[in-house]
Structure formats: structure tokens, C-alpha cells
């Protein structure tokens, strides 16, 4: 379980998060939507302290901390409980796919090398990369790199994995394979908090959808509620804009959200 209460964060004078609260139950998949600049990335980064929030409360599993006075040791503990999949993959450039997945197991989890290797191989097989174990990131496609990134996160068995727009740096034909892997992660019952613009993913997989704007949660609910029956004006506007952009883009995607367009 993970819960953020009343998180505030500003960069100098720019107030990015202004009291957002989010709760993710165990085994839930929660998708966060919102316009560019609404603070989605910042919020995820605050959860594992790549950015320091100014105030608020964070609960991960049995640990609760206050953002304003968190200790170094607590940060380290929380990072061990939280996995992160980056928009631009951020694989260790000096390590092969296998080493990328293994390294945390050996160094952080203190697992014996052989056992870690076995586990890393399994994780990579699971994202269908068994044939690329000894490839360096520079030798992998974007989609393959992102799948290694996902394998690296799941191998560590964190309480929750945060995904920050994991497919938005990918070519359209590579998005599908990555979403497929993420759906499998969800089916495993792994708790996920996902920032994405892929409405189809939210629609098919999410237990809960959160719409953020201006640093706060504007609306949250099941995918049906948010896509078919949004209550807030800002949510409606955002959805119709993103759907219009998508259908203009490809004219092939099918969202339940289309009904939203048709209603108008």
C-alpha cells in the first residue's frame, strides 16, 4: 500500500504540487492522467526522493514519513521498497541487460551471484529478452531497453512500481510490446502507479484513474467513471483534447472515451 497525503513542492517560486493526495491499495493499478506541467512526474519523483517534496506525508507499506523532516536512512529504506521505470529508460550504460537486472539484487539485496543471475535471467525471459542478455543498452532498441527497465524493477520485488510515461519516448510500433509487458506485470498482482497518456492502457488495466491538474487531484474514479462520465469540466476538456489528438494522429485507436466525443 502506498499513500501520499497533502504533498507540496515548489521549484523556487513555481508551485508544482499544491496539496495532492493519492492512495494505491495493494495489487491495484492506478493510472495518473493530466496535462503537461501538471506535476505528475514531480509527484512520482518525490515518492522515491529523486526530488525533495517540501511537505506532506508518505506511507509505503508499514513505513510513514513526513516529507519535511525525513532522514537519510528512511529515504534509503523507501527507495528499496519502491521501483521506478523511467521515461527515458535510464539503464546503466556500462552494464549489459543481464547485469542491469542483476546488479541491484547483488548490491542492494545482497543475493549470492548465482542466485541473482538466475533471477535476472527469469525476469528478462519474462519480458521476452532471453536472447539479449549480454547486449549493452546502446545495442538495444528503445522498446527493448524499456523492457529491461521493467525487468530491473520487478526483479527487486518492490512493494510498488512507479512508471513515468514509460512509452512516450517510443516509436508507435514499440509502444505495443511495452504495454503488453506492463499488462503482464499488472496481471501478476504487482502494485503499480502509472503516469501515461495511453488511454487504452488505463481503460483495460487500471483499477483507478486519477486526473491531476495544477498540482492537485481534480478527480478520481474507475476508468468507466472517468472516461464515460467525468464530472469535472477540466477532466472533460482534457479527455476530449487528448482523444481528438489521438484520432487525428492515427485514426485507428479505439477508446471507450470515444463515446465522450460522440456525446458532444
Amino acid at each position: 500500500m502506498i499513500e501520499i497525503k497533502n504533498i507540496y513542492k515548489s521549484f523556487d517560486k513555481l508551485k508544482v504540487l499544491t496539496g495532492a493526495s493519492i492512495r494505491v491499495e495493494p495489487h491495484q493499478v492506478v493510472v495518473v492522467l493530466g496535462p503537461s506541467g501538471s506535476g505528475k512526474t514531480t509527484m512520482l519523483r518525490c515518492i522515491n526522493f529523486l526530488e525533495r517534496a517540501d511537505s506532506g506525508e508518505l506511507t509505503v507499506g508499514d513505513m510513514t514519513i513526513d516529507f519535511a523532516k525525513v532522514k537519510k536512512k528512511e529515504i534509503h529504506e523507501i527507495r528499496k521498497k519502491v521501483g521506478f521505470v523511467f521515461q527515458n529508460y535510464n539503464l546503466f550504460a556500462n552494464k549489459t541487460a543481464l547485469q542491469n537486472v542483476m546488479h541491484g539484487l547483488v548490491v542492494v539485496k545482497k543475493m549470492p551471484k548465482e542466485q541473482a543471475r538466475k533471477k535476472a535471467e527469469d525476469a528478462l525471459a519474462w519480458v521476452r529478452l532471453s536472447d539479449k542478455l549480454n547486449y549493452y543498452p546502446s545495442q538495444l532498441s528503445g522498446g527493448q531497453q524499456q523492457r529491461v527497465g521493467i525487468a530491473r524493477a520487478i526483479a527487486l520485488e518492490p512493494e510498488i512500481i512507479l512508471f513515468d510515461e514509460p512509452t512516450s519516448a517510443l516509436d508507435p510500433e514499440l509502444i505495443e510490446e511495452t504495454l503488453e509487458v506492463m499488462k503482464n506485470v499488472a496481471k501478476q498482482g504487482i502494485t503499480m502507479l502509472v503516469v501515461t497518456h495511453e488511454l487504452s492502457f488505463a481503460q483495460d488495466i487500471a483499477d483507478k484513474v486519477i486526473f491531476m491538474d495544477g498540482g492537485v487531484v481534480v478527480e478520481e474514479g474507475t476508468p468507466e467513471e472517468i472516461f464515460n462520465n467525468p464530472k469535472e469540466e477540466r477532466t472533460k476538456q482534457f479527455l476530449s483534447r487528448i482523444i481528438a489528438a489521438k484520432s487525428f494522429d492515427a485514426g485507428k485507436d479505439k477508446f471507450a472515451g470515444e463515446s465522450l466525443c460522440q456525446e458532444k
Partner: protein
Amino acid sequence: MCVKVNGLFCRCPVICVVLGMLAALVRTYRLPVISKVLDVFMALCKAFPANLILLICIMIYTYKFNDFAAFFHLDVNIRDVNLIYIAILGLTIVSLSGISEVLRSGLIAIPKGQFEAGYAVGMTAFQTFRDIIFPQMFRVVIPPLTNSILSLLKITALVNVMGVSDILKSATDAATESYAFLEAYVAAALVFWVLGIIIERISKMLEKYFAKSVKQIA
């Protein structure tokens, strides 16, 4: 002569790289206070000509050594200290800032995402540096670091202002007996050349070893 000269060469680059790395780390991770002090110190070192620094070192040593010793209650006399250590100190001050800057440029060239990936996996700052950042940084700095070490090799010829033997001085000393100056200079040049080749070789080997994770640039 050989022993002395080798000592100068082997120790100086090692000391410079180790201290330079520490200074680069302090300045990149911006440790409070010392990073400010180092900023000033490095700027000063960069501004002075090499032989001036060496001369200042030897002056301070000759005039102030006994005061220092007394101040720290050390039971040593100026005659007990081999001049070579002062030469090493001087050369270190001369080269340190350059080498440290080379290392720092390598450090800041590493994308922020590499640090963050390490932290996100649960590694400490030290583990991340040791396993992820340093190997990548080192690969980038090998060519410029090689250059710095070659320059250091060449400025060792300046330590004769301190009365310390270096390759050049040893050669000319030998020549004064036989008046074979040209031969002596050629011999000295050969020694520098061979040392240069050795350093280049080591550098190429290291480059090859660390380059395995990078695509060959066409």
C-alpha cells in the same frame, strides 16, 4: 639517478589522480565549505606558471622548513628531508588543478539519469558512484587524462630549478664530464620518447577495456 627519476614519475601522476579525483568529487557533489576552499585554491594554481610554483615551494622549504617543523613539534631537520619530496609536492600543485578539472569534466558529462537509476534501484550514493558513474566517467577521461600525464612528464624537466635531478639534468650532468652535449640531449629525448610511448600504450589498453559498452563510432 634512475631510481630518483622513476620515483618522481611514478608517484606524481598517481598522487595527482587520487587527489584530483577527491577534489573533483568534493566540487561536483558540492560538499559545503571545502568545495568553496577548493574552488579558490584550484583557480590560484591554474593562474601561476609552473616554474614559479616550483620556485616558491623551494623557497618556502629552505627558509621556513625549520619553523614548520618546530610549529608541529616534529623532530626533523631540513637536511633529513630529500628534496625530491619537495619536487613531488611542487609538481603536484602544478598539475593537480588540470587533472582534477579533466576528471570533473568526465563526472559532469554523465547524464543525471545514471545517478537516479542507481538511487531508484536502492543503491547508496557511494555504490552508485563506484559501480555506475566511475566506470563511465573513467572511459570518457582516458584521452585527456593521458594528455595531462604526458604534460606532467614534460614539466618534470623543470624541477632542476630546485636542484633536483630529472631526466634532462641527469643527461647534462653526464655530458659535462665528456662534453658530449648533443648526445646527452638526444639521450634525454629518447628517454622522454620511450616513456611517452609507454603511457600512450597503457592509455590505449585502458580505452579498449572500458569501451566495450559503447558502440564503435564509425
